[in-house]
């Protein structure tokens, strides 16, 4: 039964849910109030309390009936005590309390029947201030005597009344809280999902919550699928272009090996072919550099950096390594090796030399690649990290690559939850810093 209600609730939209909650609260309020009326109506005081009220009222009535109209106010004041306060009012309408005490009145009238003649009215005070029970009697000239008094056992009623006021409100709060929470929970997972949109395979968000939210989640899931598909298409297109162009390039290269080709032309064209190959390779590296499908492995990052430096130095470059001789981390080896290699090549290309250093810094590895070149203008550093942006468009176009070198580095480093930082050193030259977490194992 409860399960069916929950299921029904789950199917409802947001406005329906709000209405349902309001309805529940109204019903509870109604039931609580009816119960309270019933209890107040049948309330009786202990005999001594009832006698005290009856006696006081009879005394007040008798005294005031015999007094002049002008003195009655004074008399009321004189007759008042701390626990039983009296006020006289000129004839007029009288306001009856909303919670009448029928049984108590009967109890009091039974003790002093003459009070019935005085049209006794008793009620529970709304706010316990001067007393918790209030009431009035009418004198023969239609003027009113009102009173307030404390009755020992009436506090239970007062408490019930306060509870009657506060309880539905509390319940409304609680239900609203639960409603908002259950409505917002799928919304929160939705927010989490949008953050990952476009990175990696689509992760469908389970369809939960009210109708409107379900529709939103469904739309988002479809969008995820579309984005993923278009990324896959883009990757496939770029890979296919790279792949298909390599065969004609291979033909060109072999044709150049013919005896009849002028050696100078051959060298020139071979250089061009190499450049085209490098462009195609860098596109492929960029597309592949997500590398999420390749598992991370333990590697010696210090040896890796040193080996790359040694290889560059073996080819005649001004490359030096300083730093630790061995430091193990858990990363994807191929993209990270390519990232380091790109930074070293960049330094050699733009700066003419390179100094690589690896050190451990707390729970991270810090790899710095320095050169003594001109650096990058500070306002263009962000541009340098954008794919297909080349900073030296105006200068000599002898740069190989498509402006994918640094973006490849950044992509590879980000995949390992690391950071890449580029800055000009105060003494001149550029410093690229990679920080990689050591990796848990």
């Amino acid at each position: 039964m409860a399960g069916r209600f929950v299921a029904l609730f789950r199917r409802m939209g947001l406005p329906e849910r709000l209405l349902a909650v309001l309805l529940v609260v109204v019903i509870i309020d109604f039931v609580a109030n009816s119960f309270l009326f019933e209890r107040v109506d049948s309330f009786m005081l202990r005999r001594d309390d009832a006698e005290r009220i009856a006696e006081n009222l009879v005394l007040a009535r008798r005294t005031m009936e015999h007094a002049e109209a002008g003195e009655r106010d004074q008399i009321a004041h004189v007759l008042s005590t701390d626990r039983f306060q009296l006020h006289w009012f000129a004839p007029g309408t009288r306001r009856r309390g909303s919670l009448g005490l029928t049984n108590l009145r009967a109890q009091v009238v039974a003790l002093q029947p003459e009070l019935a003649m005085a049209d006794l009215e008793l009620h529970l005070e709304e706010l316990p201030g001067k007393g918790n029970i209030g009431g009035s009697i009418r004198l023969s000239d239609n003027s009113l005597v009102k009173f307030h008094t404390h009755a020992k056992s009436a506090w239970k009623l007062t408490l019930g009344r306060i509870a009657g006021l506060v309880l539905p409100t509390l319940l409304l709060f609680a239900l609203a809280w639960v409603l908002v929470r259950t409505t917002l929970k799928p919304l929160r997972t939705l927010i989490g999902a949008t953050r990952h949109l476009g990175s990696g395979p689509p992760r469908p968000v389970p369809e939960r919550g009210p109708d409107e939210l379900r529709e939103l989640i469904r739309a988002l899931n479809e969008m995820q699928e579309r984005i993923h598909q278009s990324l896959v298409d883009r990757t496939q297109t770029m890979l296919a272009i790279g792949h298909d162009l390599k065969t004609p390039l291979a033909r060109m290269r072999l044709r150049l090996d013919d005896e009849s080709v002028d050696p100078e032309v051959r060298d020139g064209l071979n250089h061009d072919i190499d450049e085209m190959r490098m462009l195609l390779d860098s596109i492929q590296a960029y597309v592949d550099s997500d590398g999420r499908s390749i598992p991370a492995e333990r590697i010696d990052i210090a040896v890796m950096a040193e080996t790359l430096v040694d290889t560059a130095a073996d080819h005649g470059a001004d490359a030096t390594y300083s730093g630790v001789s061995s430091l193990e981390v858990k990363v994807r080896p191929v993209p990270i090796r390519r990232a380091l290699s790109n930074l070293i090549e960049n330094a050699l290309h733009y700066g003419g030399n390179v100094r690589v250093s690896v050190r451990r810094d707390g729970g991270a590895v810090e790899i710095t690649v320095d050169d003594d070149g001109p650096g990058i203008p500070d306002d263009r550093i962000t541009d340098a990290l954008q794919p297909f942006v080349r900073l030296d468009t105006a200068r000599a176009r002898d740069t190989a690559g498509m402006g994918l070198g640094l973006p490849i580095v950044r992509k590879a480093v980000r995949t390992e939850n690391g950071t890449l930082d580029l800055r000009n050193r105060p003494e001149g030259g550029l410093r690229a810093t990679i920080r990689l977490p050591m990796g848990a194992d």
Binding site: A250, L280, Q284, D288, R298, I299, D300, E328
Partner: protein, 255 residues
């Protein structure tokens, strides 16, 4: 289907050229590559498809297959796997995808070498010759070349070397990078454990391997390798034999 067993050249001389089977789907490139191989002194057979390849392999004795992996999909690699299963003819595979993953995958599947498009005649001939030399036994009169396909993983002092991946792993399992020349030097040492090797001999043996050779002196290469193998703080397995050369003293286990 049966395939002619791999033909080993027990007494290869320069007068009997090896037969190379070239499998390439692009017609023009097939013609050009075949011409390049012929110019380098090889006997060349060609095939445009996998089916043609099987026919040729049954009919002729082939010393080496140059196989274009074609599309980066399954077809090329499937063909490759089947060929490797049915014959142990040396294979050089050619790929248009120059990616490292492809290279490693190819070598792990049992390729003898990898060639990325575009390649020059010289590069192609050098690779083919290197693989033939290794497969056929370089100088059959002297000791056999120890690097066999069956012995892929080699262990010493807790270190592990994968010949297919050309990869060295430390005792803690971390990949330790080596330059091409360093790896070739290590492979040579692993082939002649507990034997003193002169500098000249080391140079000669290391150079016969694939991988880019370096003009660094053998002493520089040895000292780099020694430093990398010493990372764990233990004693280096390579010891200097004064006036003679070097010796790899660790015990070598092949699996």
């Amino acid at each position: 289907m049966t395939v002619a067993p791999r033909y080993r050249h027990p007494h290869e001389t320069m007068t009997t050229p090896s037969t190379i089977l070239l499998v390439e789907d692009d017609g023009a490139l097939r013609t050009l590559t075949a011409r390049a191989l012929r110019q380098s002194g090889f006997n060349v057979l060609t095939a445009a498809t996998g089916a043609e390849m099987w026919v040729t392999l049954r009919e002729a004795t082939v010393s080496l297959v140059v196989l274009d992996i074609m599309l980066p999909g399954t077809s090329g690699f499937d063909l490759f796997r089947r060929l490797r299963r049915e014959s142990d003819v040396p294979i050089i595979f050619v790929s248009a995808r120059g990616s490292e993953e492809d290279r490693v995958l190819g070598l792990e599947l049992g390729a003898d070498d990898y060639l990325a498009k575009p390649f020059s005649t010289r590069e192609l001939a050098a690779r083919v010759s290197a693989v033939l030399r290794r497969g056929g036994g370089l100088d059959s009169t002297s000791e056999p070349v120890p690097e066999m396909r069956s012995a892929d993983a080699i262990r010493f002092d807790g270190w592990e070397v994968s010949m297919a991946r050309r990869e060295l792993r430390s005792p803690s399992g971390a990949i330790v990078d080596l330059t091409g020349a360093e790896f070739d030097l290590l492979s040579t040492f692993l082939g002649y454990p507990q034997r003193v090797l002169g500098r000249e001999r080391l140079m000669e043996l290391s150079r016969s391997r694939i991988g880019d050779s370096s003009d660094r002196s053998i002493d520089v290469l040895v000292s780099r390798l020694r430093r990398k193998l010493q990372a764990e703080g233990s004693e280096s397995p390579i010891v200097t034999v004064r006036g003679v050369g070097y010796m790899f003293k660790a015990e070598v286990i092949r699996t």
